[in-house]
């Protein structure tokens, strides 16, 4: 049976930034009627559509697959569309992710994030002639990198990482996750190149194994484990040991 829902009033405190009006961020509180089964995204939509059209955030799929609406909710990075009012309590605080320049309210600048992603050559590298049909890959080989194929590039991991906050140059967990996705793909030949990139100053060694990233990931990717596997691959010079 679908869980019972009941209507209640929730208090949403939003950290706002309206550059047209003021250079300083400020907190604003909204009170909204919501059902237990409503997503936090539904609540934000209600505020925007019924009370305050200036409230600004990104969203699209509304069910946790597009990666648009990562934000800091009650102190943790989450997707607003994957959180239910039932799980949040009557007082909710919402902020933009840390470690990203803020454009307006909850909208942060994702360009630097994608630029770092591009650095690790996030595409299959293999110059061997293509077979007429598919390249072969066993189910076990496919399983090897399954977890890291799930990434939706939402930035929640990167925005939760103290090493990122301390050093904006660092590639950050999301890039390493996407490097992992190729390094451990039996069809890929670019592993060495990527490991080279990740072994430099701004690479994997800045990871202090704090695990914030793994907790933040809405796709349940064991981000820290993936980073550790990449570290080991660099140390031993092979992906077989990791």
């Amino acid at each position: 049976m679908p869980a019972e829902t009941s209507t209640r009033v929730v208090q949403v405190k939003v950290k706002r930034y309206q550059p047209d009006q003021s250079a300083k961020p400020f907190w604003q509180e909204y009170r909204v009627e919501a059902e237990g089964n409503d997503r936090l995204l539904d609540v934000l939509n209600k505020i925007k559509w019924e009370q305050d059209g200036t409230l600004t955030y990104r969203r699209s799929c509304a069910h946790g697959v597009c990666g648009s609406d990562a934000m800091r909710v009650n102190g943790r990075n989450r997707l607003a569309c994957k959180l239910l009012v039932n799980d949040l309590g009557a007082r909710i605080s919402v902020e933009p992710m840390l470690g990203f320049p803020v454009i307006r309210d909850l909208v942060v600048d994702m360009d630097p994030f994608f630029a770092k992603y591009e650095k690790i050559k996030p595409y299959l590298i293999n110059d061997e002639p293509e077979p007429r049909t598919e390249r072969q890959q066993s189910p076990e080989q496919r399983e090897r990198y399954d977890e890291t194929t799930k990434c939706i590039l939402c930035g929640a991991c990167t925005g939760s990482c103290p090493s990122v906050w301390a050093n904006a140059e660092w590639v950050g967990p999301a890039s390493i996750v996407n490097a992992h996705r190729f390094i451990f793909d039996s069809r890929d030949r670019g592993g060495a190149e990527r490991l080279q990139i990740l072994s430099d100053r701004t690479g994997v060694w800045r990871c202090r194994t704090i695990f914030n990233c793994s907790e933040a990931c809405p796709r349940g990717i064991p981000v820290t484990d993936a980073i550790e596997e990449v570290k080991r691959a660099i140390m031993y010079g092979t992906t077989d040991i990791a």
Binding site: M1, P2, A3, Q18, P19, D20, N37, R39, K48, W49, E50, D52, G53, T54, T56, Y57, R58, R59, S60, C61, A62, H63, G64, V65, C66, G67, S68, K82, L84, I103, R104, V107, M110, F114, Y117, E118, K121, P122, Y123, L124, E130, T133, E134, R135, Q136, Q137, S138, P139, Q141, R142, D146, T149, K150, C151, I152, L153, F182, D185, R187, D188
Partner: protein
């Protein structure tokens, strides 16, 4: 004026747009404009798979696939296009694999395949394994893979730029005008070729599987510029959306063996479709559900039935259907390992759209006259390979096959001979005026009355949005009739009127998402107009278009495509018709 010049401008960065881009990136100057970051596109939400007769699991043949596509589409499919779709699907899937797409694998290392609704062996004998998949996140993998390839090929993106207008001069498409969300600036893109790949418009209905960004922008922009929309009345309701929320539970569930159950615990599909059972085409299964509910056999007498996967066992559920079972847990608090999941039909897919030929070129009349320089691909387009009802896994194929054809045609045939057509005078006038008047209405109130920062008089967007979506659900849903459609056409007229007087609360130029939403809402209403007018005139039942007052298919009068042209008169598009291309399969009654 912000002016940009590229050989090709592609609008939309979902599967169709990126596939086109890939054909052009090497040797022409191209730009991809997208109102979302590419990886946020709705292609990423596709779950079940992509159909191609690889025959990896059992014998298969693209002719069987073609037949299924034609029959599934209730014979409104253009068969020349269906032949291309199903034949080229095979190479297109291999190409995706070569680009790194992580398909699930068979024991011997090939791409794994599974069953899907309406896909059969040997011209309808029984289900066949044809859907190539990556767990239940095939679309995610396709989108990621294509984006990865775009990065590799250094495609130039204009992210979070929203197209507002299409430019046509001297009978040739020559550019688009877009709003840069970040700073509210208007940009004119001058090009020799434009590809529209902006996706569907499911947001016109209350219960939908579609993302908030699926607002029919490409269709509406073209429609306003005099390009007809084809077969818009053919809108698909997917049988299994999560109750009340509409989030999709892929047909892959039924492909893997899930059942549909009514309040009596009966597998009712068996009664309606003895051969294909739960895997009959979507339009039919949605109607079975509708009929069960109408007969009082909805669960607890309500408007939903059950989808049950529990008998598949935890292991199979986790391996094959992890995401969709998570949706049930997350959004309904139901544990699919043990409990059946409440579902109802959800607005899902536009079979209709901007008419194109098999090269992806936009055609503007019943003689298939090409509008030079303009292409469309993906859900925004109507080739027509889906006819009156799309089969599951046939959209992703459509994106990659016709996205690719459009790109290739531009590269090989159009660019070598084409020149830049001059831009019309004041090319951004329409877009600028739209944006300025909306922002001004925010400041001054709807009727020019003063207001302070949005606290003025006049209606804001929410009531309008709700009215559109509720009325479309009520009147243009799984089941339609004269009375409801007539009422809805009047509704559309009213909604258009109200849209013109909407008031914005947000007048900022920095990332104004309210402005974006209001423009989108206007686009949805345009799409609704063409949909309702086409449905009202089509006095028959075919595929997704089911009318209780004309419950039979009528090949004598309606084996033809609708073309709806916008006119000066709100609510009165001009309707024309063009013949269906039939090459080898003569229309027959559909039985499953």
């Amino acid at each position: 004026m912000n002016y940009h010049k590229f050989d090709v401008v592609i609008v939309g960065a979902g599967g169709a747009g990126l596939m086109s881009a890939m054909q052009l990136a090497h040797n022409s100057s191209i730009a991809v404009i997208s109102k979302l970051y590419p990886t946020r596109s709705h292609t990423g939400a596709a779950q079940g798979g992509v159909a191609a007769a690889l025959g990896n699991q059992e014998e298969d043949n693209w002719k069987w696939h073609m037949f299924d596509t034609v029959k599934g589409g209730d014979y409104l499919v253009d068969q020349d296009a269906a032949a291309i779709l199903t034949r080229e699907a095979i190479d297109a899937v291999y190409e995706l694999e070569h680009w790194g797409l992580p398909f699930n694998r068979t024991e011997d290392g090939k791409i794994d395949q599974r069953r899907f609704g309406g896909h059969s062996r040997n011209f309808g004998e029984g289900p066949v394994r044809r859907s190539c998949y990556a767990a239940d996140r095939t679309g995610h993998m396709i989108l990621q893979t294509m984006y990865q390839q775009s990065v590799k090929n250094q495609v130039r993106f204009f992210n979070e730029y929203m197209m507002l207008d299409l430019l046509i001069n001297d009978g040739q498409a020559c550019g688009v005008v877009a709003l840069c969300l970040r700073d509210g600036s208007i940009h004119t893109f001058h090009a020799k070729a434009i590809v529209l790949a902006t996706g569907g418009y499911g947001r016109a209905w209350r219960i939908t599987s579609n993302a908030l960004a699926c607002t029919g922008d490409g269709m509406a922009v073209a429609y306003r510029r005099g390009i007809p929309l084809e077969d818009m009345e053919m809108y698909q309701f997917h049988p299994t959306g999560l109750y009340k929320v509409g989030i999709l539970l892929s047909e892959a569930a039924r492909g893997e063996g899930a059942y549909l159950l009514n309040s009596e615990g009966e597998r009712f599909c068996v009664r309606y479709a003895p051969t294909m059972e739960e895997l009959a085409p979507r339009d039919m299964v949605s109607r079975f559900i509708y009929d069960e509910i109408a007969a009082g056999r909805g669960i607890d007498g309500k408007d939903y039935v059950y989808l049950s996967v529990a008998h598949l066992g935890k292991e199979k559920i986790d391996a094959k259907l992890p995401d969709i079972t998570d949706f049930a847990r997350n959004y309904l608090g139901v544990e699919p390992y043990y409990e059946p999941v409440p579902i109802q039909p959800t607005a899902h897919y536009a079979m209709g759209g901007i008419p194109t030929d098999i090269e992806g070129r936009v055609v503007v009349d019943e003689h298939n006259t090409v509008l030079p320089g303009l292409y469309a691909a993906g859900e925004v387009a109507c080739v027509s390979v889906h006819g009156a009802n799309r089969l599951g896994t046939n959209s992703l194929v459509d994106l990659i096959v016709f996205g690719r054809r459009a790109g290739k045609h531009i590269a090989a045939k159009w660019l070598p001979e084409a020149d830049f057509a001059p831009l019309p005078n004041a090319p951004d006038a329409f877009a600028t005026e739209m944006v300025e008047s909306l922002l001004a209405r925010g400041k001054n109130g709807a009727n020019g009355k003063n207001s302070q920062n949005g606290k003025g008089t006049g209606e804001t967007q929410e009531a309008l949005r709700a009215d559109l979506r509720d009325s479309m659900m009520e009147n243009v849903g799984v089941v339609r009739d004269e009375q409801r459609l007539t009422a809805q056409l009047a509704r559309v007229v009213e909604l258009k009127q109200r849209w013109r007087n909407l008031r914005l609360m947000d007048t900022s130029r920095t990332f104004n998402t309210e402005l974006m939403e209001v423009v989108e809402l206007g686009n949805l209403i345009e799409c609704a107009e063409a949909t309702v007018a086409g449905a009202l005139a089509r006095k028959e039942s075919r595929g997704a278009h089911y009318r209780t007052d004309y419950p039979k298919r009528d090949d004598v009068n309606f084996l033809k495509h609708t073309l709806a042209y916008r006119t000066e008169h709100v609510g009165e598009p001009e309707l024309r018709y063009k013949p269906v291309v039939i090459t080898e399969f003569e229309p027959k009654e559909r039985k499953y």
